[in-house]
């Protein structure tokens, strides 16, 4: 059945709906007025962003540190768990799937405040360390799922062949499974990285003074009203996302 004109119209309107607000943010970042009324082209906000907004750059640095550390750890634990789960049946399987699904549906606010209560009960000082712990926690189920779904297209015969040719468990793991899985592992890392860079709500609760991340910085700027510097930061983030999307096109089907 070919989609009719009605469906085509809905698709076109949806794409406009997706992109028009983002386009307007980009446009407004070059607007010389502070309000969203167009009054001429300027690069003032970009110059301001690069020369004066130290707190933005510090927040950006924190975001990168957190994202790199947390997505690396989450990818390692998640991938190896997925391989173990695929390789050998375990009694823990249904408990493990329950644990995996749970963080997907528990709202961010609750994950955030529950971690805040845990850290404050255990007298752990809030800072980059607690943010990293929180980010690993919410990205681990994603990395596990992405790698696991990649494993489902994996041809088991290759493993059998490797065993028949005399490989040990460890050799099968390093020489057969890992190389074949690399695109999936990379996709998992990428997803965890994006989730970490993007997260506002959970980070908001577990960040201490001096450990502001970029989304938290943006949040406090938005709270003060519409600021053209936010438009400039947003433009970078939107273009960065599109660039990443284009470069990593072939990984997207693994991410979902």
């Amino acid at each position: 059945m070919r989609p009719g004109n009605f469906i085509k119209t809905v698709v076109i309107l949806t794409m406009i709906f997706f992109y028009l607000p983002l386009f307007i943010v980009v446009l407004m970042s070059f607007n010389s007025a502070k309000s969203p009324v167009w009054s001429g082209f300027t690069l003032t906000w970009y110059i301001k962003l690069f020369t004066r907004e130290y707190s933005v750059w510090n927040a950006f640095k924190n975001s990168l540190i957190v994202a790199i550390i947390s997505s690396t750890i989450a990818t390692i634990i998640g991938s190896v768990t997925a391989v173990e789960l695929y390789w050998k049946k375990t009694k823990l399987e249904s408990a493990l799937w329950f644990l995996t699904y749970l963080p997907f549906v528990v709202p961010d606010v609750i994950i955030g405040i529950s971690l805040l209560l845990l850290f404050s009960t255990m007298k752990i000082q809030l800072g980059l360390f607690t943010i990293i712990l929180a980010h690993i926690t919410f990205s681990i189920p994603y990395t596990m799922m992405v790698v696991y779904s990649r494993l489902q297209d994996f041809d088991r015969n290759i493993i059998e062949a490797a065993y028949d040719l005399g490989s040990t468990d460890l050799q099968v793991f390093y020489k057969v499974i890992i190389p074949n899985l690399l695109p999936g592992i990379f996709a998992a890392f990428l997803l965890a990285f994006t989730l970490s860079i993007d997260d506002f709500v959970i980070t908001f609760f577990v960040a201490g003074p001096g450990s502001t991340t970029l989304p938290i910085q943006i949040y406090s700027m938005i709270r003060f009203g519409i600021s053209p510097t936010v438009n400039a930061i947003s433009t970078f983030m939107i273009l960065g996302t599109i660039f990443l999307g284009l470069v990593l096109r072939r990984f997207i089907r693994y991410v979902f």
Binding site: V10, F18, V80, E84, S114
Partner: protein
Amino acid sequence: MKYAYILWLMILFIIPISIIFIFSFLEPQVYGGVRWSFTLDAYRYLPRYLNLIWRSIWISGIATLITLVVAVPVSFYIAKSRLKNFLLLLTVIPFWTNSLIRIYAWKIVLGNNGIVNQLLGALGVGPIQFLYNPFAVILVIVYTYLPFAILPLYASMEKIDDSILEASLDLGASKSITFMKVLLPNVRTGLLTAFIFVFVPALGSYAIPDLVGGVNSKMIGNEIVRQLMSVRNWPVASAMSNLLTLIALMSIVIVMKRREKS
């Protein structure tokens, strides 16, 4: 490593959620914190928030409905299109874009001197206050969660055998009947997943009502944070959180049952 995985989620997920569960049965202390004596006071307090709970449910319900109504034709189109990969990319990019920036974009578009009001002004209408009401919250929830609905629906639509749709058309069903009676029942699992992926997080949303909602469109998430941070009544915040967690738990049980069946 699977033990590391389980242990990690036990310590940093199950235990914290359990702390909330326990705190909801304790007495509050004046400046936050809890006193270790059992009481159901926090739950007795909840009926006062019936309005807020009901509002959160209808706002997320309407937003989910709109999201699904849009996502079904879009995901169908993508699944049948030759430009599949490109269209998927177009869907994933907003999903990857920072969520605060997506909320902020709507503040610029819908603000009192935003683009929409400038256009209306040129037509001699307005300005209309679009922001800080349930309408704005619903709109931004739809915007934020639409990719979450399109992607699982696309996965279901892709698996459908085209010949059953052709058969329905050959046997004389109209396109819309085929859509409703053949296509939709075949993507039930995708629809259910999409529903849960949108409804549950929408119900617990914090940032969206906080930034584009007004006093009459705050949701449970905002009240939980207010009880915890400003009112400093930890047990009440915990009791409200348990309500949301309960809904999340029920939705997982449904999804896991489905998964076993298929």
